[in-house]
C-alpha cells in the first residue's frame, strides 16, 4: 500500500503533502498542535479535508465518492486508548478481526496472540475500567495491530508505558511493522530511529523537513528535529565562514556536502558535548563564543546538561560545580569550528 496524502484543513491550519511508500514506516514528528493527529485523522477518514486528496495505492479515497473509514482497511491507534468500555480487553482486541468477518472463536484466538505480544495476556478478561493507564495503552496497541490493516496509523503508541516494557514493545512493533505501510507519531527519538524508515517533521501544520530517519536525526534542518535528536542548532545565513542568525549569533563551522555560497541559508549543528562552558570569554582562540544565560541544569548520564534557552551543553558534574552554575548564571558557550556541522537549510 502506498499512501499519498495531500490535504488542507483550514480550521486546524493544516496544509500538508505526504507520501508513504509500500511497506514503509514513516515517523511523524512535530511539536504539540503541529497537526500530527490531524494528518492521521485525514488518512483514516475521520476528518474530511477542506481540499486535497488521499490515495491508497491508486485507489482514490476522497474525491466524489468518499471512502468511509471502515472500508479503508486502515487502523488508527488514537492518542486516547478509547477501549470499548463494554467489552473485555480480549473482545476489544478481537473487535478488528471480528469486523473483518473472522468467527468469534478464531478472532479470540488471534486476539490472545496479540495480547501476548504486548505482554498483557493476564488482562484478557478485564474491562477497560479495570485497567491501569499503561495496561489500557497496551491493549489498545494490540487492538490496532490485530485489525491487520493495510495502513497502520499509530498516534504516540509508547505513551504511558513504563520503561520496563518499552524496549520489548518497540521490538514487537519493529517486527510487526516490517513490510507494513505505517505512520507513527512520536516524540521519542528512539522510536523514530528504530521503527521508522523515514521521518517527516511537521510544524504549524506544514511539513518542514523529511528524509531517511537516520539522516534527518543526524543532520536536522528544522529546529524541532534538532531538538528531538538532542542537537543544538543555529540557523541563519552562511557568511564569512560562519552561520549568522537573525538574532546576531554567529557560529563558525565547516560546511559539509554541497558548497555554500555567501548569503545562502544554512544551519550550524553541534552536539551538546561539543560545547564548552566558560564564565568569561576564552581569549584569542578561533572558537565560536555565544554569550547565554543558563536556564536549567539537568543530569544527563554521567554529565550535567546545561540548558540556555534552546541551546544545551553537556559538562561534567565537576565542571558544573566549579563554574558554580545555576539558572540565571551568565556564561559563554564555546564551540570549536571543527565540531560544528554546517549545511544548507
Amino acid at each position: 500500500m502506498t499512501l499519498r496524502l495531500e490535504a488542507t484543513v483550514a480550521a486546524r491550519g493544516l496544509d500538508v503533502s505526504l507520501e508513504v511508500a509500500d511497506g514503509e514506516t514513516v515517523a511523524l514528528l512535530g511539536p504539540n498542535g503541529a497537526g500530527k493527529s490531524t494528518v492521521l485523522g485525514v488518512a483514516a477518514g475521520l476528518l474530511r479535508p477542506d481540499t486535497g486528496r488521499v490515495t491508497l495505492d491508486d485507489h482514490e479515497l476522497t474525491g466524489r465518492r468518499v471512502v468511509p473509514p471502515h472500508a479503508r482497511r486502515t487502523a488508527l491507534l488514537a492518542q486516547d486508548p478509547l477501549l470499548f468500555p463494554h467489552l473485555t480487553a480480549l473482545d476489544n482486541v478481537a473487535f478488528g478481526p471480528r469486523s473483518a468477518g473472522v468467527r468469534r472463536g478464531a478472532a479470540r484466538d488471534r486476539a490472545r496472540g496479540w495480547l501476548a505480544e504486548v505482554d498483557a495476556t493476564d488482562l484478557a478478561g478485564r474491562r477497560p475500567g479495570e485497567l491501569s493507564g499503561g495496561q489500557a495503552q497496551r491493549v489498545a496497541i494490540a487492538r490496532a495491530l490485530a485489525a491487520e490493516p493495510r495502513l497502520l496509523l499509530l498516534d504516540e503508541p509508547m505513551a504511558a508505558l513504563d520503561v520496563a516494557v518499552t524496549p520489548a514493545l518497540r521490538q514487537t512493533l519493529r517486527r510487526v511493522l516490517e513490510g507494513r505501510t505505517t505512520v507513527v507519531v512520536t516524540h521519542d527519538v528512539l522510536d523514530a530511529l528504530l521503527l521508522a524508515d523515514r521521518v517527516v517533521v511537521l510544524d504549524r501544520g506544514r511539513v518542514v523537513e523529511q528524509g531517511p530517519a537516520a539522516e534527518v536525526l543526524a543532520r536536522p534542518r528544522s529546529p524541532f528535529a534538532a531538538r528531538v535528536a538532542g542537537l543544538n542548532m543555529v540557523s541563519g545565513r552562511w557568511s564569512d565562514g560562519a552561520v549568522r542568525s537573525g538574532g546576531g549569533r554567529a557560529v563558525a563551522g565547516t560546511p559539509s556536502g554541497p558548497a555554500l555560497r555567501e548569503g545562502d541559508p544554512a544551519v550550524a549543528v553541534f552536539r551538546p558535548r561539543a560545547v564548552s562552558v566558560f564564565r568569561e570569554a576564552p581569549g584569542g582562540s578561533p572558537r565560536t563564543a555565544l554569550p547565554v544565560v543558563v536556564t536549567d541544569l539537568e543530569p544527563h548520564g554521567d554529565q550535567v546538561r546545561v540548558r540556555a534557552g534552546d541551546l544545551a551543553a553537556d559538562v561534567t558534574a565537576h565542571a558544573a560545580a566549579e563554574l558554580d552554575l545555576a539558572p540565571g548564571s551568565p556564561v559563554i558557550f564555546s564551540i570549536k569550528a571543527t565540531e560544528v556541522d554546517v549545511y544548507p537549510r
Partner: protein
C-alpha cells in the same frame, strides 16, 4: 466512589417522590381488599389484562424496531429539515390521545387516507387487536425516540469512530458499539414506551373501539368499570400498576451502569 449529590438536593427529591407516591398510597388505602380476588379473576378483567400485556409488549417491540432507527438517524446524520422532522415526530406526545385516535382513523380507517389501499389488500385494521397495537405504538413511539436520541447525543461518537477505523461496517458499529453503549438509554426509553402503551386509553378507544377480548384493554375496562363501581375500578388499576412494576422491574433488573475507563 460515587461523587454523590449535594445534601440539600434530598429535600426536593423526597418532595417529588412523595408527590408521586402519596397518591399511590391513597389508592391502595381505598382498595376493597375483600372484593379484589373476585374482581381480578373475573373473566372481563382477565381478558383485559392479558390483552393489555400482549398489545403493550408488541407495541414496545415495534417502538424499538422503528424508534431505534429513527433516533439513530436523528442523532447521527444531518439532513435539511432535520429540526422540523424532529419536532413533528414529537407531535403524538402533544396530541390529546383522542385526537390521535381520530388521526389514525383518518389514516388507516375504512375511509381514511390509506383505507382504500388497505381495503384492496384485504387488510381491515379497524376494530381489531392490530388497531390497538397501532394506537399504542403511535402514542409510545416518540418517548422511545426522544429519550434514545438524548442518550445517543450524550454518549457521543468517539467509540463509533474508533470502531470504524478498526474496519467495522456501520451495521457492526451499531450492533456492537452504539447499542451496547446506550443500553441504559434504550432501556429507559423502552420502559417509557411500554408504560405509555400499557396506560394508553384515549387513542385506543377512538381508533380501535372496545370489545372484550379483542380491543378492550385494561385501562378501557377500568374506565368502564368506574361508571358503575369506582372502588372496583381503583382496585383494577392497582392490578395494572402491580403488573407494570413487575414487568419493568424484571426488564431493568440487570441494568448495570456502564462506565468509561476511570
Amino acid at each position: 466512589m460515587t461523587p454523590g449529590v449535594p445534601r440539600w438536593l434530598l429535600a426536593p427529591a423526597a418532595l417529588g417522590a412523595a408527590f408521586v407516591l402519596l397518591p399511590l398510597v391513597a389508592i391502595v388505602a381505598r382498595v376493597p381488599w375483600s372484593d379484589l380476588g373476585a374482581l381480578v379473576t373475573s373473566e372481563a378483567s382477565r381478558d383485559a389484562l392479558l390483552l393489555s400485556l400482549r398489545t403493550s409488549a408488541t407495541s414496545t417491540v415495534l417502538c424499538v424496531l422503528l424508534g431505534v432507527p429513527m433516533a439513530a438517524v436523528l442523532a447521527r446524520t444531518s439532513f435539511p429539515g432535520q429540526g422540523v422532522v424532529r419536532s413533528l415526530v414529537l407531535l403524538p406526545l402533544v396530541l390529546p390521545p383522542v385526537v390521535g385516535g381520530l388521526a389514525l382513523l383518518y389514516t388507516f380507517g375504512r375511509r381514511g387516507l390509506l383505507g382504500e389501499t388497505l381495503d384492496v389488500l384485504g387488510v381491515q385494521v379497524a376494530f381489531s387487536t392490530a388497531a390497538v397495537v397501532m394506537a399504542q405504538t403511535f402514542v409510545a413511539l416518540p418517548f422511545l425516540v426522544v429519550s434514545l436520541e438524548g442518550a445517543l447525543r450524550t454518549a457521543g461518537e468517539r467509540y463509533e469512530l474508533v470502531a470504524a477505523t478498526l474496519g467495522a461496517r456501520p451495521t457492526t458499529v451499531l450492533r456492537r458499539v452504539t447499542l451496547p453503549l446506550v443500553l441504559p438509554g434504550l432501556l429507559s426509553g423502552a420502559v417509557l414506551a411500554f408504560a405509555r402503551a400499557l396506560g394508553e386509553f384515549g387513542a385506543t378507544v377512538t381508533f380501535a373501539g372496545s370489545l372484550q377480548g379483542v380491543t378492550r384493554t385494561l385501562p378501557t375496562e377500568i374506565y368502564l368499570l368506574r361508571e358503575t363501581d369506582v372502588d372496583g375500578a381503583v382496585a383494577l388499576s392497582l392490578v395494572l400498576v402491580v403488573v407494570a412494576v413487575l414487568v419493568i422491574g424484571l426488564a431493568t433488573r440487570r441494568r448495570a451502569p456502564l462506565r468509561g475507563p476511570s
